[in-house]
Symmetry: C2
């Protein structure tokens, strides 16, 4: 199966790593924001990245993502560039080009899926191809497959998730070590768990975007970011957490969703300490409250290079098996 | 999609309940151990069960499970009779008849799958049909789909599971209330969580059978019950649990599996109290340690009528979609 890999950051390198030794896959084109390379016999991504250290480029500026999407002979476009939460671009255009050409798309990019899922899904259907995006929510945790297939036939009554690893790290450190918010955030930055500008993480926007994706893609809703009530964790004090602890509870940033009431919210909530959603470090988790299965919880690593690549790999194998490669 | 429902105990009634209002399904035949009924236009299971209260039968003794499997025109045989762990019969024969006739099979029966998975899977393949068994392990928790599809492409390095709800209930009550094993078992019996003869549950056999199913079906192994080292929970004292608690730990019956070492074991183990596998009541859970995704944990209800039916429903919908009904 011939892959065009758009994006060579952390996730893109993870994808290159996991498909490298799998004879079912061949990366025939790759691009970062500055350049691209094409080889119908398969590219050696490690060598391209090595070359980048010397030249600043992985290939030639002529091979842009758009041109690769439009001209190269690939089976699946793997779009793993950084999320643009406002417009979804340039990923949105790249994905549309691929789908319009009748090529499958796998992405971990939250922008296009949270903003234009219905349009993209229609485009995929019209062209008889798959659009897959397991990596957009909760990293390595197979939550989209879990709800769509594992719990197929169940009406989802409610969904509760820990969908932002940065916030979970900060809150669990405030809880375990009595750190202030500022101290815990600094620690998260030092460890690479928080970005230089952590606004989208700590004010609940990142979790809200993932909630919108789950709502629209697996729960049949039609909502936008504006429909999600958001409260961040940046005002939380160690005292609030200590008070929670004194009653056997703790505080986590919870994304919640009640499909029938069209009620979507991201906010810090009190949880009993033995709740499956109370986790330490950067773990993510989702509890799905269903009609027949009862509560089912999925827990795992919500981010990371090879972890997100794992989700992309499962999407690639779905396409591989379903479309008879 | 026309279903033949073999078994009308708790799970069978759950299946009848969940498919009742779904226009995609029609139960055209049903049998319990004494009698059966057939109607190409669809049976009303509630009425059959009502009739059974008066006559002791749901239909006529002529319609045995075997005869239904062999003669009725159905698309999927749903086999949900009680597990026979020694021979797999009579479910094994019923399933073979269906597969040989080119009919799909969905089962929650651990006997045939733990004893003869390879033979049955070959038979299904030869006849171009599906053999599905999500309900055999961990009830409503979609663990087979989770490993096969959600974590597709990942090598499983190890697997740890709480696969027996009865034991989990007993241990969590010994922990929370300081009960003795005998007291907690009596409580589990009163609540219907333990059978009259709980030997298979408390000596680890039930969990070991589920471990064998996971090993052979989703981890590519070829093992039998004899390959599982088993230690039960019946010798555990409240003192042992108190000692564990004094070090921030607790005791759970854990089924573990290391595919490369071919190491399978069911035994009471010490776990940190914040381990995702430390759950209360009758919950089941599985943690899968993988190459790329890291640790992924699935938690939910391991038994119950409608909960197991939920797993069967996901299998039915898989067949419905894959085979174009």
């Amino acid at each position: 199966m011939k892959l065009a890999l758009i994006g060579l950051g952390s996730v893109g390198r993870g994808v290159a790593h996991v498909v490298k030794n799998d004879p079912r896959f061949k990366i025939v084109a790759a691009a970062d924001s500055k350049s691209g390379a094409v080889n119908p016999d398969g590219l050696d991504i490690d060598r391209l990245l090595q070359g980048k250290k010397e030249t600043g480029r992985i290939g030639t500026p002529d091979w842009t993502a758009f041109r690769i999407a439009a001209e190269v002979d690939y089976d699946v476009l793997v779009e793993v560039t950084p999320t643009n939460a406002e417009t979804g671009e340039p990923a949105l255009s790249t994905i549309k080009i691929a789908l319009s050409r009748g090529r499958h798309v796998v992405t971990s990019n939250k922008g296009p899926i949270s903003l234009y899922y219905r349009e993209l899904e229609s485009l995929a259907e019209e062209n008889g191809v798959a659009l897959r995006f397991e990596g957009t929510v909760a990293g390595a945790v197979p939550i989209i497959n879990g709800i769509r297939n594992g719990l197929a036939g169940n009406k989802v009554k409610a969904l509760f998730g820990v969908l932002n690893g940065t916030c979970n790290y900060i809150l669990s450190r405030m809880e375990e070590e009595g750190l202030t918010y500022v101290q815990a955030l600094a620690e998260a930055r030092d460890l690479g768990y928080a970005e230089a500008d952590p606004t989208y993480d700590v004010n609940g926007t990142d979790a809200a975007i993932k909630l919108v994706i789950l709502a629209n893609t697996v729960l049949g809703m039609n909502v936008t970011l504006k429909d999600v009530q958001r409260t961040g964790i940046d005002r939380l004090t160690p005292e609030a957490i200590r008070m929670a602890q004194s009653t056997g509870q703790t505080i986590r940033l919870i994304a919640s969703l009640y499909p029938e009431k069209k009620d979507l919210e991201v906010s810090p909530r009190l949880l009993p300490e033995d709740d499956p959603l109370v986790l330490s470090e950067t773990l993510n988790a989702v509890t799905v409250e269903t009609e027949y299965a009862g509560d089912v919880t999925f827990i795992g690593r919500g981010a990371g290079s090879v972890e997100t690549a794992s989700a992309i790999l499962s999407d690639l194998l779905y396409i591989h098996d379903k479309y008879g490669f």
